[in-house]
């Protein structure tokens, strides 16, 4: 080999090595394309005048122009060359300049490139032939070329001799690179074609690496997403929080403007929104059927994702819906073969100018992966809730058992005690009364007798409470007006209320549903609570007596001013024999609690700034009424819904 030829080869290898170095230093496709074009056109490198890159879009089966570089005119070319010669910029510098230049992508030739796209089949264009043939094509004279050069390429690019080389990676053609010397009119040598081919091959590898990198990045973000969901499950204990987390992550990771997580109840065939994020909230709020429940139902029924890229062209969506959302996706949540629900996402944010705001297949796949994780999360959370619920019920049962046991013992004992005490008490109080009647009103002994009478009355009241306990039997339930029961109870403590100069605020709701209850027992409950309230009420203080409908129950609220009950004592209030220590047996509230429990209700106690103690007797509305209401609920069958979406796939 001649000395000069050898030098050229060495120079070429050195150049290629440098280009490869620069190219593999980046993983971003745009940057890689810029480096390739710089290498092809830089004077210190291959030195072509103009170059353009085409890449294959496998999904669309197209060869699309992606980027181009080169002066627009002879004058511009001359100016650039003289500049380059005086600065004698190295290849690396040129590359750095070209890739750091933000406007570089908006090269006139890039715009030209982007206007070009050819279907991937024969007899369309030379670029496609180059890709399909996987070999370079050197066109020395376009007019005499035997193959096909498309009209578009002729109009936009072809002026003179040019070269098309395939961009290869691992035996596949990823695209093509075309270059010419339209301004310098320098003839292209065979060696230059070889060098261009080598470069295109390296470019192919770099592009392939970039794609792998992009996929890795996606996997990485999937992994971190999955990790986040996983962490979410561990750190959140409530189902609601898990659902909200999934809705948020689905929207954020896909880059959607909103999302809704739907839950499916298989036994009842009901789809309900479990959580929403962003614009998803308004979809739920406005009750959009096509965008909401129908879409979710379709994904659930088919156990496969639904992607609607353009809602405006889809008659299944109402005009109003089309005005709100342009692109939607739905994926089912399936865990261990169970249909759990679906995630719907609405409208993608375009991440850059090159990104479309339409959902693509790969995003659908990603959402499906996320949905798998989410399904597990939902199932776990549900299980957790179930375990918690069971545990709670167990604890309640234990507490109830403890109380019931105590109650039974109390009942037995109180019956005995009552008899033994009541007899002497009757005579003590009775004789005191007798003596008191014989004394003159001015006699100081009258006061002392009054004390005996009052105290024996109090003891008798305590015995009454104990007897109530002994008598706890199953309530005799009838439909009753709770307001009536409240009024009568208040009447029965009116004497004590007067003594305390209590100001009673009555707020009884009208039109309350009638409740299934034992009015005698309920009166006992209210009297006991009222007596407790009066006991702690300061003289002249205020009391509130309120009834209202809350959800599917009725609340009777009895509040009194005065010192609030310390938190640790609140739990103890309903335990038999627990007392404030002032007086009483500590049975009154225990009896009340027991009776309310038998009515399927509960008693809650709390304090606030205004009221020292607030008792709330929560009673369920009778079962019959509940059932009647459910019957009226509109139920949409899954089968009816499926048809409208089934036609699509």
């Amino acid at each position: 080999m001649e000395q000069s030829a050898l030098e050229t080869k060495i120079r070429e290898f050195w150049l290629l090595f440098k280009i490869i170095n620069v190219m593999h230093g980046t993983m971003e496709l745009e940057r890689i394309l810029k480096i390739i074009l710089s290498a092809v056109t830089a004077g210190s490198a291959l030195g072509f005048n103009r170059a353009m890159i085409f890449l294959v879009d496998e999904e669309k089966d197209l060869l699309e122009g992606r980027m181009g570089t080169g002066p627009a005119s002879v004058e511009e070319a001359g100016r650039i060359w003289s500049e380059l010669e005086t600065s004698s910029a190295s290849f690396e510098t040129v590359v750095r300049m070209s890739t750091e230049d933000a406007g570089g992508g908006d090269d006139a030739l890039t715009r030209t490139a982007r206007s070009l796209a050819f279907p991937l089949r024969g007899e369309v264009d030379i670029t496609v032939d180059c890709v399909l043939g996987k070999s370079p094509i050197h066109v020395k004279d376009p007019a005499a070329y035997s193959g096909i050069i498309s009209r578009k390429l002729k109009d936009e690019f072809v002026r003179c001799e040019f070269v098309a080389v395939p961009i290869m990676a691992k035996g596949r053609a990823l695209g093509a690179l075309i270059a010419d010397n339209v301004f310098s009119r320098k003839l292209v040598t065979g060696e230059e074609v070889d060098l261009l081919s080598s470069l295109a091959h390296q470019a192919g590898l770099a592009i392939e690496n970039g794609r792998v990198y992009e996929r890795m990045k996606l996997r990485l973000s999937e992994l971190s997403t999955i990790q986040e969901v996983g962490k979410g499950i561990l750190s959140t204990t409530s189902l609601k929080e898990v659902l909200e987390l999934i809705a948020r992550i689905s929207a954020q990771v896909i880059g959607a403007k909103g999302s809704v997580l739907w839950l499916y109840e298989e036994s009842e065939d009901v789809v309900t929104p479990g959580a929403s994020f962003g614009t998803g909230a308004s979809i739920v709020e406005k009750g959009f059927e096509g965008l909401g429940e129908q879409l979710a139902r379709w994904a659930i029924a088919e156990k496969s994702p639904v992607l609607v890229q353009d809602c405006t062209a889809d008659p299944r969506f109402s005009e109003e819906e089309q005005g709100v959302v342009s692109s939607v996706m739905a994926v089912p949540l399936t865990g261990l073969g169970n249909r759990i629900g679906a995630i719907t996402v609405y409208d993608k944010f375009a991440r850059s100018d090159f990104d479309s705001n339409v959902f693509e297949r790969d995003e659908e796949q990603f959402l499906a992966i996320l949905a798998d994780q989410a399904a597990i999360a939902v199932q776990n959370a549900r299980l957790f809730e179930a375990v918690r619920e069971t545990e709670k019920r167990l604890r309640e049962t234990q507490a109830l058992l403890l109380r019931t046991e105590k109650l039974a013992a109390v009942g037995e004992m109180s019956a005995k005690v009552a008899h033994e005490i009541r007899n002497p008490l009757t005579s003590i109080g009775g004789f005191a009364r007798r003596v008191s009647k014989t004394l003159k009103p001015s006699d100081p002994n009258r006061d002392y007798l009054e004390i005996i009478i009052r105290e024996s009355e109090r003891l008798e009241r305590i015995l009454d409470e104990q007897l109530q306990f002994a008598q706890l039997s199953r309530p005799r339930l009838k439909m009753e007006d709770i307001n009536e029961v409240v009024q009568q109870s208040l009447q029965l403590v009116s004497e004590e209320a007067r003594r305390k100069k209590a100001k009673v605020l009555k707020r009884l709701a009208v039109n309350l549903p009638t409740l299934l209850l034992d009015s005698d027992k309920m009166k006992q409950v209210l009297i006991n609570i009222l007596q407790n309230a009066l006991k702690f009420l300061p003289v002249g203080g205020r009391m509130k007596l309120e009834t209202k409908k809350v959800g599917d129950g009725v609340h009777v609220i009895i509040a009194n001013e005065g010192q609030s009950i310390p938190g640790e004592l609140m739990d103890q209030l309903f335990v038999p024999f627990f007392t404030s220590g002032r007086d009483g047996t500590g049975l009154g509230l225990a009896v009340a609690y027991q009776i309310v429990r038998e009515h399927g209700g509960e008693i809650k106690v709390r304090s606030d700034q205004e009221w020292g103690t607030i008792f709330c007797v929560c009673l369920p509305v009778s079962e019959n009424q509940d059932r009647r209401r459910n019957m009226r609920d509109r139920r949409v069958r899954l089968g009816d819904r499926r048809r409208s979406f089934a036609e699509d796939s």
Partner: protein, 122 residues
């Protein structure tokens, strides 16, 4: 003057009832047990019986059964420390049921109204 029979094993209670009802204008006789009451009922005539339930030996409800066998029309007012016997069907045959209290107002009221009812029914 109406004659009352007070049956109670508690001596103090008996004494209280005797004096209180005497003040009200009744002739009052006390009995400390069910059997003593039945003996007295055989020997003398009473207009009404005030009957305790829990008593050693024959209790009030048994006594009530015996009374009902021989004197179906004699009104009996049960006066017990327990209200539990209210639901015992034997006590249904009693005219009234008053829970014991040092305040005898209710018992007095009941006795008066039962006797008045009987007077008008006759």
């Amino acid at each position: 003057m109406k004659a009352l029979l007070v049956v109670d094993d508690d001596q103090s209670c008996r004494k209280l009832y005797e004096s209180e009802f005497a003040d009200e204008g009744y002739t009052v006789t006390g009995a400390a047990s069910g059997s003593e009451a039945l003996e007295l009922l055989e020997r003398s005539t009473f207009d009404l019986v005030i009957l305790d339930v829990k008593m050693p030996g024959m209790d009030g409800l048994e006594t009530l059964c015996e009374i009902m066998k021989t004197k179906r029309n004699l009104p009996v007012v049960i006066n017990s420390a327990y209200s539990t016997f209210k639901t015992n069907f034997t006590s249904w045959s009693a005219e009234a049921y008053v829970v014991k209290s040092s305040n005898l107002a209710e018992l007095k009221r009941t006795v008066r109204s039962v006797l008045e009812e009987r007077a008008t029914a006759r």
